[in-house]
């Protein structure tokens, strides 16, 4: 492949690939777990639709990370400005709230409803916290069956707060993994390399005997490291010795095969 024109490229590309690999390996499973958990929680709340919104950017606008229900696919493309609407308030203030009784005048979740054609009748929104930061909002919308819907009760609000505590670490892990993936993608852009080519190459090495061998070594290391602190220390020292030796020999073969 025509990738190794300058001396730093190989090392840079390796870092980018590792970063992108790490992100890619985690993003999809975490996304799937969040959606599955959301489905279970919605059933527990007897709710028709549920979603997880996350804060993004310095302005703190919200985007739908995950959604289940009738308009789930449309929601994924929608962002809500900071402090706007019920979910914006909950994210900005950290205060959970439940809203009902729209009396058919106009949906209170107006902008999102306008974009999706959905009719929000009752809504429970509770903040998602990681450490002491609000990272997003967990929402339950409407009930199963036909309106009018029974409003969310104080007990359901308490339950939703517990659910939020359960799902928040997953959301935080997803966002971290996504950040790694995005950094990897940005790294590709910065090198000016055709990402399609790099991906193709990445897939090739994944299928290669060398890659499988690397994975086997990684599993061996994990097995050793999981035994005790003494084994971990020994393993670390051996590996560091090998890396120093390899650096001295300058025999890296990552891209040349």
């Amino acid at each position: 492949m025509p990738l190794a024109d300058n001396s730093n490229l190989e090392a840079n590309l390796r870092r980018i690939v590792e970063t992108a690999d790490l992100g890619n390996a985690l993003v999809e499973p975490l996304s799937g777990s969040i959606e599955n958990l959301l489905r279970v929680l919605a059933a527990e709340m007897n709710s028709e639709d549920a979603s997880v919104l996350v804060r993004q950017g310095s302005d703190g606008e919200l985007r739908f990370l995950s959604a289940i229900g009738k308009v789930a696919d449309q929601l994924r493309n929608i962002t809500i400005p900071a402090g706007k609407g019920v979910s914006g308030f909950v994210a900005s203030s950290g205060q959970p709230m439940a809203v009902s009784d729209t009396t058919g005048e106009e949906a209170f979740y107006a902008e999102v409803d306008r974009q999706t054609g959905y009719s929000t009748e009752i809504l429970l929104a509770t903040p998602l916290r990681h450490n002491d930061e609000v990272i997003g909002v967990l929402e339950f919308v409407n009930r199963k069956g036909d309106p009018p819907y029974k409003p969310f009760s104080p007990e359901e609000m308490d339950k939703a707060a517990l659910f939020a505590d359960a799902i928040a670490p997953l959301v935080n892990a997803y966002e971290s993994a996504k950040m790694f993936r995005d950094i990897g993608e940005a790294g590709f852009s910065a090198t000016g390399i055709d990402t399609v080519l790099v991906r193709k190459w990445l897939n090739e090495i994944r299928g290669s005997a060398e890659y499988r061998e690397m994975m086997e070594i990684a599993i061996l290391i994990r097995d050793i490291a999981s035994r005790s602190a003494a084994e971990r220390q020994l393993c670390r020292e051996m590996l560091e010795t090998m890396i120093r030796y390899a650096d001295q020999k300058d025999e890296s073969s990552y891209l040349t095969h």
Binding site: F89, S93, G94, P96, T103, T126
Partner: protein
């Protein structure tokens, strides 16, 4: 309004008398009492709120400082209007002052919230409704200082509790403010006092029907809707006894709540 001097402080000696059904505060309307609503703004066009909002300001970030400008942007989320509607129902003649600290344009972080509280204290509004909170440790100390300033200035700060396992500020600073959590009570004038608890007061906060932007109404549930019930009642008590200090207001609330349980 300026805080009273030491000699003017005590204009009430019979707290138990406040609990009587014919006590004079119950027939009040909050006239002459200023109530700040530090929140998402207030829809001043709502029919429940016309001519009741004496001022509206909005936080603006500039060079890492927060400034307050006159606001005509209304309510970005509905929450501030809902709180104002509850206060106006209980104390219809209270002077409402909207301090918007939530909304687009970088607002909504804790700094704007603190700045809004400081603005309300500097204006010496008698009651400050804080249906907001934060769990960020970095704001613990500055909030504590601000609440001490509020206490010294004679401002009664009423804050909503948060349904969280970890402490949220300012609701845990129970000595310098009044913290409120929701109850299923439906009578706006019936509230509870949980003696010895961090969150001392309970007030109606379940399916509370109140104003919503666009001249609408919504039924809302949350601690943040219990808080304005107490703010409204404090406005009534201060109208009847304008010289009360914050600790006396809390004693009055306790006396009324304790009598209500009998």
């Amino acid at each position: 309004m300026h805080p009273p001097s030491e000699l003017e402080i005590s204009d009430i000696s019979d707290f138990a008398g406040l609990a009587r059904p014919d006590s004079n505060w119950r027939s009040g309307t909050g006239r002459g009492i200023s109530v700040a609503i530090v929140d998402s703004g207030v829809d001043t066009e709502h029919s429940d709120l016309t001519r009741r909002v004496a001022s509206s300001v909005e936080a603006r970030a500039e060079n890492k400082r927060i400034l307050f400008d006159p606001s005509s942007s209304g309510d970005s989320a509905g929450h501030g209007t809902a709180c104002a509607g509850i206060i106006a129902r209980i104390a219809p003649d209270a002077e409402l002052h909207s301090i918007k600290v939530l909304g687009p344009g970088g607002l909504g972080d804790g700094i704007a919230f603190l700045a809004g509280l400081e603005y309300a204290i500097n204006q010496q509004f008698r009651v400050i409704n804080l249906s907001l909170g934060t769990t960020k440790q970095q704001f613990f100390s500055p909030l504590h200082d601000l609440l001490d300033r509020a206490y010294q200035a004679g401002c009664v700060v009423v804050a909503a509790a948060n349904n969280l396992p970890q402490p949220s500020f300012p609701s845990v600073f129970c000595s310098s403010l009044i913290s409120v959590s929701k109850s299923e009570e439906t009578d706006s004038f019936r509230f509870g006092f949980r003696f010895g608890e961090t969150i001392e007061l309970t007030a109606p906060g379940v399916n509370v029907r109140t104003a919503w932007p666009g001249n609408l109404y919504r039924s809302l549930t949350g601690n943040s809707f219990a808080c304005p019930h107490i703010s409204g009642i404090v406005a009534l008590i201060l109208e009847a006894y304008p010289m009360l200090r914050p600790f006396q207001v809390k004693s009055a609330l306790y006396a009324i709540a304790a009598a209500g349980k009998e």
